[in-house]
Structures are given as C-alpha cells and as structure tokens.
Amino acid sequence: MYKLLLIWRYFLKKRVAYIAVLAVLLLVMLVLVVLSIMSGLLEDTRQRNHRWTGDLVVGRDSLVGFAYYDEWIAALQNHPQVEAAAPVIKTFGLIQGGGARQLMGIDMESWCRVTHFQQTLFYQKNDRLPSLAVPAADSLPPDSQPELRGCILGYYMLAGQQGFLRPGPAAAKLSVTVFGLNSRGQLAGSGIGEQQFFWYVDDSESGLVDIDSSVLYVDFHRLQKLCYMNGLDGQPKRASEVRIKLKENVSLAAGKTAIAGLWQQFAKQYQGKPSSHLLADVRIETWKEYRRSRIAPAEKEKSLMIVIFAMIGFVAVFIIFAIFYMIVTEKIKDLGIVKSVGGSRLGISQIFLGYGALVGLVGAVIGTILGILIVTHSNEIEGLLNAWFGFRLWDPEVYAISRIPDAVDYGQAAVIGLVAILACILGASLPARRAAKLEVVETLRVD
C-alpha cells in the first residue's frame, strides 16, 4: 500500500522523473512514427512491384527468349491454380533523340488480366479494355491494323524541358530501332536493325521509377515480328516471358511449386523438337524474386532503421538508469525511514521498480497516442507545414507516392510501448537493487 502511495508521490513531486517520462515519450513517438512510415513505404513498394509483375514469371534472361510459349500458356490455362497467363516480349530499342529504352511487347487483354496495368494508365484507366490502337485522326493514313501502331510510354519518359507534358493521344510519334536475334542468338535480318514509328496513345505510371522511366509498351505481335521471334526463320515462335496470375486462394509458394512441376513435364515433352535448347534454362520466379533488386533496398532500410532505434533505445535505458540512480541516492533517507517502521528490503526495491514501470507506462502511453495521432494525421500536418512555411516535407516525386503512408500497425505500436516499459523497469532495476542493499541505519544517524 505505502509502495503505491510513495510511487505516486515520487512520480508527482520529482521533476527529474518528468525528464525520464519525456525521454520515453519522445522515443516511443519517434520510433512509432518512423517505423509506421517506413513500413508503409515498404508495403507500398511491395504492392506496386506485385501489381506490375503479376504473381509468377516464367522466362529466360536471354533476349532470344524461349519457344513453344503458346503451348505453355495453353497448359497453364488448363491448370487449376492459374487464373490467367500473358506472353511478353522484352527487348531494347534505340529511340531517336532519347537513347536506349526497354521495349515490352504485350498482349493487352491477357496483360491486363495478369497485372494491374490498366490502373496505371492516364487516359484509358476506366475504359473497358485499354488499347494500343491509334485513334482515327486526319493526320494519320488509314491502317488495317491500327492497334499495331500505338505505344504506351512510362510516365517519366514524358519528362521534357518543360516538365511533364502530355502531347495528347496520337499527337506525337517516336522512331524506334530494334535489333532482332534468331533462335541461335545471332543478329537477324539486315543486321542494321529495324526502324519503326510508334504513336503515343497513353502513358503508364506504375510508381516504379525504373519501369516508368524506361519502358515503352507496344503490341506483342508487332514487337515479335520486329525482333524476328515470330517464326519466319522456320523455327518456332518465341516469347521472353510468360507472366502468371494465380487463383485467389493459392499461396505464392504453393503456386510456384505447382508451376515448376508443370514446367518440368512440359519441357520434357518438347525434348528433341526444334529450338528445344531454348527451354533448358527457363526460370520460374515469384514476383518477389523477379523484382528482388528493387524490393531489397527498402527492406534493408527498414532493418537498418530498427537497428538504429535499438541503439537509441539503449541510450534511453541508460538515461533512465542514471535518473533513477540519482533518485535512489537522493531518497536513501526515505528508505531508512520506511525500514525503521518495518519495511522490507523487497518492498523498498519494489518502490523503485514500480516507479520505473510507472514512468515507462506514462511515457509509453502518451508517446504511443501522440505517435498514432501524428501518423494518422501525417498528411494534414504536412499540408499545414506547407501552408505556413512553404515547406515540403514530402516530395511525391521522390517516393512515387502522393500521400505519406498513414496506416498504423497497432500490434507493432503495442510492442513498441511494451518494450519501452520493460526498458524502464530494466533501467530502474539496478538502482532498485542498490536501494535494497543499502545499510539504511547510516542514513538515520544524520539529518
């Protein structure tokens, strides 16, 4: 009983305890805010990568690609765990006045089923099905296959000297030179590359800087033809990748195992057939593996942050330790008094442990509440700062995300708070032991 009363009175009367509370509070708040925003960014990075990639990627690193992709897609579509599959051609092209860029040949219908591509488009976001067809315009000669003429640009490729300017659909064209390879990997055709024009019809902002600044999406069949992958050399047609979307209830790991098994059987079937050597080193990757080099840095940053906070936490425990050491030293006489009226050593050390726990509890609770408020209102706060001081805390262009992540993981918040309380008890435990061991009689001899 007296312990509670003393803990409470010490807590209220000792200014230095407020400093300890403040230290705990600030630390908890800081950790919570930074970790929430980092987790939000990481989650966002993962999600954007996943949305752009689809679930699984089957393909080869080589620009030559692999054969029998149509048959493979047919096999996939019969598989119970597969929702959709899309063939992709990947190559590089020289853009007149723009340097080398990546070209991706996509079959719009299947591509949009496997990925979230449509949501990334500017003009055709809400169309039934986006298209690469160039809208009929007087300036264009009539064409029997209009879908072969258009291209979709990565958003950052629009950047010019005046910033981001949309020319409007079919108002600008790019000259692209592509070098095709035959199935043995040699330069095909004339060997000087094929030059073609593509009209801008739309742009895509996936939020992935590497993709949005370098990928030009064109029609699958047109790019296949340009790259000599369409089987005119007497060999089977080729594609670079097949992207797969799994059924909703299939886990990524299970899906990968199933598709890898399916591929083994499939490749065996085509042993000895023309171009079968192109099936040998085909890889099956999940979207995480496929985009690893882009996700890993964000994950590293988060772990680094946790390490830094662990060190800060260590410092905080030390501060609390020092403060409690001071308090114990100052309160030795009180301990003597308590002992003289029958207090036990255990009771005396409990006063200090309880005091530490109370400091931790108050600091952690206030810090957690403030942290949650800051995170959930981060965008309003940023807006106010911007309005008052013209100060942009958050540059949407840098993070490719227009809002500061403002989701709080309450489990994480609880863990942070608990760790802070435990740290305080830890910081108080040594001084508490010292208090219990003191020869208190000495303190009673003097005033």
Binding site: M1, Y2, L4, L5, L6, R9, Y10, K13, K333, D334, G336, I337, V338, K339, S340, V341, G342, G343, S344, R345, G347, V440, V441, L444, R445, V446, D447
Partner: protein, 225 residues
C-alpha cells in the same frame, strides 16, 4: 520486557577497530521510563538502534518478552519493528512527500497488504486522528513536514511511533534539536505517555531531561555503569 545479553559492536576505524559496545547488559521492565545517558560518541545511538532492530550487534542477543529477536527471520524482525517498537529520532525523519496524516499512517500502510489496508482504512484513520490529536496537531493534519516547525515535526514523529500501539517506545535525543519551549512540550508528551503505561527508553545527555525518568543508566566505555 526487553533485555540485552552481552551486546558487542565494533566499527572499523582505519586499521583498528572502534569498540563501541563491549558487553552491554540491560533490562527494561514493562511500564518503565528508562533514560540512557553518556558522552557524545559513547554508543548510545548504536545501542538504541540495536534495541530497535535497526542494526545488528556483532555478538550478543536482544530478547523481547523472552524471545531472542536476532535469531528470527528477517520478515519476523520487520514485523517486530512495525508492530512492537516505535522509534523517535533526533532529526524527526519524516517523509517529505507525505502530509502529517500520511506520515503517521506509514507504519499501518507498511504493515498491511493493500486489501487489509482498504478494509481497515476507516478504523486506522480514526486511530491516526486520535494520536495526532493527542500530540495536538489536529489543525496541521494535511500539511507537509516542510511547513511545520521543529517541535511540530517531532510531535508528528511521536504520533507515527505510537500509531501501532507499540509495546516499546525508543527515543534518541528527541529534544536534542529543539528549543527549550518545544522541548518541554515533547517531554510532557513522553511523561503523559509513561503515566498511561507506555514503556519508554530515551537516550539523552541532558540531566534535566533524564530527571523525568524512573531510572538512569550511564554508558561509559561501552558498558552500562
């Protein structure tokens, strides 16, 4: 009621030892008012601390109502300090964060579990009020020690020592730090208590103070003369 058997206590002093108590034998009867006198540094406080179980002798034993106390468990000794013995110090030793009433209730709070405390709060608070009234401090009951005079603080300390109705009241120069008027008030209280049957052992080196006691003992060279 309390009796010591050959108490010895040394303190280290450089390489040598300072022999403070060298075989103290003493007996206090129920209802007695005993004054212990002696020069400064003769070991009076040391002896009183041992009687109050605040310190341990190097050798010897203290018997309270025939029971040796230093052979009992620490918990039992804590309990004796809490229930059977009241201690009044020269320098009051009140807790500055607590008010008068809370300081007086401290032994009750220390000695009871939270549950017991809550259950018995009314009675114990009434008892506390009674002892506070008996030392004439009912007006200051909610004040902090820092706002009281020395004499008033000492009266709070006496009230705290009495609240558990201890068998033995120990006082170490309770007037040593007070002017003669305040000292008189304190001594009157002790006299009244003793008349009501309270056993008291008081350390003092003031002969006038000691005159109040039934019996005077001198501590010289670590022994009772």
């Amino acid at each position: 009621m309390i009796r010591t058997r050959a108490l010895y206590k040394d303190y280290p002093m450089g390489r040598d030892k300072l022999h403070v108590l060298r075989g103290v034998n003493l007996e206090v009867r129920r209802g007695e008012f005993l004054a212990i006198m002696g020069a400064s540094g003769s070991g009076k406080s040391t002896l009183l601390h041992i009687l109050g179980l605040l310190d341990r002798p190097d050798r010897g034993e203290v018997e309270l109502e025939g029971q040796p106390v230093f052979h009992q468990s620490q918990a039992r000794q804590d309990r004796i300090r809490n229930k059977e013995i009241g201690f009044v110090f020269q320098f009051y030793h009140l807790l500055p964060e607590l008010n008068v009433e809370e300081n007086v209730l401290l032994p009750e709070m220390v000695g009871n579990s939270l549950w017991n405390w809550v259950r018995r709060r009314k009675t114990t608070r009434r008892q506390a009020r009674e002892v506070i009234e008996s030392v004439g401090l009912e007006k200051q009951i909610h004040q902090r020690p820092a706002t009281l005079s020395g004499g008033e603080r000492q009266r709070v300390a006496i009230a705290r020592a009495l609240v558990q109705r201890p068998k033995l009241l120990l006082a170490d120069e309770p007037t040593g730090n007070l002017d003669s008027v305040s000292g008189k008030v304190i001594l009157d209280i002790f006299g009244r208590l003793n008349q009501a049957g309270q056993t008291i052992v008081m350390v003092t080196h003031d002969a006038k103070v000691a005159a109040l006691a039934h019996r005077k003992l001198d501590l010289i060279d670590g022994k009772i003369q």
